[in-house]
Amino acid sequence: MFGLNKKDFGLMVIVAILALAAPFILNPFPEGSAMAQFNAGYPDLMQRLVIFGIFAIGFNILFGLTGYLSFGHAAFLGVGSYAAIWMMKLLTLNVIPAIIVSVIIAGLFSLLVGWISLRRSGIYFSILTLAFAQMSYALAYSVLTPITGGETGLQPKYTDPRILDGALEEGQTPRANLFGLDMNQGFELSLGGWVFTFNAGYYLAAVVMLIAFYLSIRIFRSPFGMMLRAVKSNQQRLNYTGLNSKPYTLAAFVISGMYAGLAGGLLVAMDTQVGAERMFWTASGEVVLMTILGGAGTLIGPVLGAGFIKYMENIVSKINKSVLEQWFAFMPDGIEDLLITLVYPFVGKGWHLTLGLLFMLVVIFLPGGLVEGGQRIGRVFRRRDANADSVESDAAEQRKPAAE
């Protein structure tokens, strides 16, 4: 169906259901309960989950398939964001042109960066992309201030020309919209103790993510995707098989750059501001972590990794000392203090520490990422079933002679 085989179609359906029902799934705890702070079903976080999912899906097309590790993909995200915000300043507050232009500009920029960086492979390629991204960051932060807003960044103002929209009244805040539908618009649904928030921006981002995911499945299953895996597996053999690996890797680089630009454009569509820090090298590193944590080269892995990291960044980082005190309040004083002292470094601002530990564990024990973890659990269950069968049949065998 839709050019997918049965298994991929099933995966697509599951992802679609998860994405569309996210406001329910991510809000499992009733409002006001002690666990409510683990709810992730608020628009800002849900938008980030899917947008960084798009970023990681695109990154995976480059890194997961070809094995070329780019350390500069945040540059394309940032360029996409700047392009989108300029569309909103000059053309219209409608998000569609902003998103389309952000993809195109990021694609062109990645064509330039990729064309130069792909002259080298391995660590040299990574360093070249890192250098490009840091140069872009430095340019955006200082030299290009007239275009990027420098330190303060950019946001649409009511004074902007916006040739397609009517003029805004003085002091009115420009809001991004989709043909008049405000991206911040939404409604809350109260069911018993639960409150579910449905947000227009989130659903736009989710639909775009589903399209991006669908395209990535198609790319993975195409002859082109097979060639990219061949690049990773044995570039020498590929070249001696009459195939030019350069345009293949460059195409993968540009596609992943366009995905990054799409994510950047969507970030602006959800929250109409951008600053240079979006291009900083840590942001490039984050998407590498997401992809590896989830499972590089797998279809769903990068989305899982992105969701996992963004969830931790927003939820675990909010656990502060008073929350811990609440949790351990039932314990005797001495033990309570001890536990708080032990746990505190790993939560709140220390969430990076937890992430780092988890990342190490995954890389060492699950080289295939969270996806491999899932597969192993699945296998254990299947084996247990198989074992149970064989144990029973063995037992039956043994019973037979006894009965005779």
């Binding site: 299953r221 002859p223 895996r229 098989t241």
Partner: protein, 254 residues
């Protein structure tokens, strides 16, 4: 008629003259072996033929066209396929995928952006790949990880991948290096069979005299970067210069 014409090729690495003044002519539809002791420049010569190295002097003509300055993939598309000393295959891909890639390369050329097509819809490619695997008796391993195969199977797959492109010249770099006698004999039989069934020229670099004398129609002996003699196997066996420079040495070793 010569399909491959090497004229006055020289290659120097720093102070080492790897190839002196090599002249070599491989006749179409023949099996031509290049032998020589270690360091004779066999691999350097081969690398000059496939575009990995560019010789300092001389010319290499394939079917009337110069290959010098062309990239390995361009030379391959001209009709030269190379089998490596250790089998070079796509280890992370399945055997079937390994087989399909050269089929795509043959049909679509060096690059094609078929990113939204499905492999399973490529009936002619799948059919051709399956046919090749059947011919090489690898069809029951089609879904296996190529890296998990035995060395002999990897060699067969690599040869099959080269043949899928219908090359006019097949270059083999010590195809039986490190193989047990039985595997070596299988490879010899396979190459004989290939030669019988196809219009193909085979150039082979080999250490193993058994392989060379069972296959080759012409032999070039290379020593210290220059061809010593070129002749038929029978004449080479009895040639005093060759015995002195090469064969005597290996017979003693054996």
């Amino acid at each position: 008629m010569a399909i491959l014409e090497v004229k006055n090729v020289g290659k120097r690495f720093g102070g080492l003259q790897a190839l002196g003044d090599v002249n070599l002519s491989v006749a179409e539809n023949s099996v031509h072996a290049i032998i020589g002791p270690n360091g004779a420049g066999k691999s350097t010569l081969l690398n000059c033929l496939v575009g990995k190295l560019i010789p300092d002097t001389g010319s290499v003509m394939f079917d009337g066209q110069s290959v010098l300055g062309r990239k390995p993939y361009e030379i391959n598309q001209m009709g030269i396929s190379r089998v490596f000393q250790t089998p070079e295959i796509f280890g992370d891909l399945s055997v079937m995928e390994n087989m399909m890639i050269p089929c795509f390369a043959k049909r679509d050329g060096a690059f094609r952006m078929h990113a939204l097509e499905s492999i399973s819809n490529e009936r002619d490619i799948v059919g051709k790949a399956e046919h090749m695997l059947e011919e090489m008796k690898l069809i029951d391993k089609r879904n296996m990880h190529a890296a998990a195969m035995s060395r002999g199977d990897k060699r067969r797959l690599e040869i099959a991948m080269c043949l899928a492109q219908d090359p006019r010249l097949l270059l083999l770099d010590e195809p039986t290096a490190g193989m047990a006698r039985a595997d070596t004999n299988n490879t010899i039989d396979l190459l004989k069979q290939i030669k019988e069934e196809r219009d193909i020229t085979i150039a082979i670099i080999e250490h193993d005299m058994h392989v060379v004398f069972s296959l080759a129609e012409r032999i070039t002996v290379l020593a210290q970067g220059t061809p010593l003699v070129e002749d038929t196997p029978d004449n080479i066996k009895g040639h005093p210069k060759v015995r002195e420079a090469y064969l005597g040495e290996t017979q003693d070793a054996a």
